[in-house]
Symmetry: C2
Subunit: 406 residues, 2 copies
């Protein structure tokens, strides 16, 4: 955690990945992030994977360092409280992240009536508010039909909810950009972020739609080969599978040198009248001639000898390893200083991820656990909304709000 | 495009996807984003896919609406200019996005000597500066070994550079967060964003590492089935493949009603003593009994009758379609108002993506093309660095800088 956004108060009324990730990033930069949930938990409160005691490891991972308010959102009085939290007063509050429907009780119009300069970032499935999640949008934009090995025609879904994660970071960017604008102009606004538009624009930004419109046709599935460049998985003599990518001239020449395939590659260049060193696209276009040379080069080499040489010469490679194996990888998890072992709200103790960026001029503070559901109900109602003790007790007794452990 | 960040001047010295995406988002919100490249183009200038005329559709997609300065970065005088651009003066300048090495001529120390409050967002491969790209990091964190069908043990790389895209949005968030802090404190800072830490923390935030550490073991590959919830691909009687996800009670009951499998599902609930309506995890845990019921339900149904009913009842589904087919989908591309047809710098004319978010209170401006390489060299040196005409002419004649078309 860092203090860049200390002083901000953000309210999160969201579930699943995108909205909670947005709130997590803000909390990790020091904002006070208050999440409200239905009493008993929202739709993501019991999402798998689960801790041995039954609590959600997913929920506690995405809600680290936030405050929790529990409200009965089915009742008018609870909905009124949620609206007032979203539109909370203060110069660096009135910042709301949600995936609630655009037309419901958390509509921008309803909230703006309470605070004119409210900033509301709303994550959506489809832009027209039709139901959509990462996996149904992903199949619609064509990615599973491009993924996988060419000898198997079945579509392959991604297991990483890439559109959700991207949307979460993009939402955090939009919220802070809107705050910069509000500081200047005094104006708030709603920002709607549909997964469908995030996905469609990302593919277009990388030239993939223009490629088809330019007549190149559908991009074929090609296993683990990187499109348009030199990159693929290879097997060493001792059976290690490595992902190897050569983009820069240094990576390319280093790879050739370590594998000892310089003469064979030069023969292809000479026969075909090309210079692979200067143009990664040519390495892709002439893969039919190049790949067998590299396959043979890897098949002759033992990884124990190969990998130190790769590192010495700046070759870009990665192992194929399971996540269990990755947990033992010092650079990823085991000795990674962004991780801190702590006891989470589930009661499980394990290394927890801190902020993904590192700020060398600032001190990194360790991550803090997720809250128990409702742990901050009373404190938030008192200091953010200014409710007095009697009013809070009444709401509590009436079952409109709940505290942790009740 | 929108005007939220109008008035900001951001300099981008970066290549590939993450850094340029960060700059693109900033430009789409109205910032002046000045990209410098080596004369003749950086390592991503000719990256596939290519337009019929040979220009990169990838490059022009990621650099829309930016300004371009071309500099010979191999020469000391060129490097000096790049440093001065990165540290450009002005209250809302001194904002630099890069993937250049942390220890090179664009190190934070070198740049801070020119501007004490510089904000520098640096995208990296590995946190220790080892070479790494999306695909080599992805294999190292274990995703390809979780991806694909259980009857095929080969790892499956993703075709979507998800870590690059996520890092790009995260970089944009960090830059504006640091600017908010600079407005308050006067302090700048370097922010290092390694793909390796973005990937490791994202998996941890979703509970995937805790799951293993809690003793659940490696998550098995399970084709197109969504982990921990109800989601999978199904085939209808007419051979349409659909991705279907049921998370909320409404999605679940709607799906059951349309398929007419209520009795069969109730029989499983009764036999096993569970209530699927309230707990998506149970739907996953009892997939052995549930999936055959749903498979049979889909196999009895024709998509023409099924899909309107799904939409009526709020069932969450997506088609499997190719990207070519998606281009004809009115909600994704064909009639999507975020796209505008324009002639890009390659000379190709096609629908180009605008900003992925929609701000209902603001007017959306159409996207603008990518610049020709060096199109703004003279203007930027004059108005950002204050060089006079004679000095610019001298740099030009000496080959330190170049303009478009030279």
């Amino acid at each position: 955690m860092y203090d860049l956004l200390k002083g901000l108060t953000v309210v999160e009324g969201s579930a699943f990945i995108a909205g909670p990730t947005c709130g997590l990033y803000l909390a990790q930069l020091g904002a006070r992030v208050i999440r409200f949930d239905n009493i008993g938990g929202g739709p993501d409160f019991r999402r798998w994977p689960l801790a041995p005691g039954g609590a959600s490891l997913y929920w506690e991972g995405l809600n680290k360092g936030k405050q929790s308010v529990a409200i009965d959102l089915s009742r008018p009085e609870g909905r009124d409280l949620a609206q007032r939290l979203a539109a909370a007063p203060g110069p660096d509050a009135g910042l709301f992240v949600t995936n609630f429907p655009a037309a419901g009780f958390l509509s921008y119009d309803a909230l703006r009536a309470l605070r004119q300069d409210l900033i509301c970032v709303r994550v959506m499935g489809w832009a027209d508010e039709g139901p959509g999640v990462d996996y149904t949008i992903n199949s619609a934009v064509g990615v599973p039909l491009m993924t996988g090995h060419p000898d198997d025609g079945r579509p392959v879904n991604h297991v990483l909810p890439a559109w959700d994660l991207l949307t979460g970071a993009f939402a955090a960017f939009n919220l802070v950009a809107a705050l910069i604008n509000r500081h200047r102009t005094g104006q708030g606004r709603e920002i709607r972020i549909p997964l469908s538009d995030v996905a469609a624009s990302a593919l277009a930004n990388m030239g993939m739609t223009a490629e088809i419109l330019a007549g190149a046709g559908e991009r074929p599935r090609q296993g683990n080969t990187l499109f348009g460049a030199f990159g693929r998985d290879f097997l060493t003599r001792d059976g290690k599978r490595l992902m190897v990518v050569a983009i820069t001239p240094r990576q390319w020449t280093g790879l050739i040198e370590v594998l000892g395939v310089g003469e064979a590659v030069a023969a292809v260049e000479s026969a075909r009248g090309v210079d692979f060193r200067k143009d990664e696209g040519l390495r892709y276009a002439h893969a039919d001639a190049l790949m067998p040379i590299f396959e043979a080069g890897f098949a002759r080499a033992d990884s124990a000898a190969l990998l130190p040489r790769f590192d010495e010469l700046g070759v870009c490679w990665g192992p194929y390893q399971t996540l269990s194996e990755a947990l033992e990888d010092p650079r990823l998890f085991k000795d990674n200083p962004i991780f801190t072992e702590l006891t989470q709200v589930s009661g499980a103790r394990y290394p927890v991820a801190g902020y993904a960026a590192t700020l060398p001029q600032d001190e990194r503070r360790p991550p803090t656990p997720a809250p128990a559901l409702g742990a901050h109900t009373e404190a938030v109602l008192a200091d953010l909304l200014g409710l007095d003790g009697g009013e809070i007790a009444r709401l509590h007794d009436a079952g409109v709000v709940a505290s942790a452990g009740t």
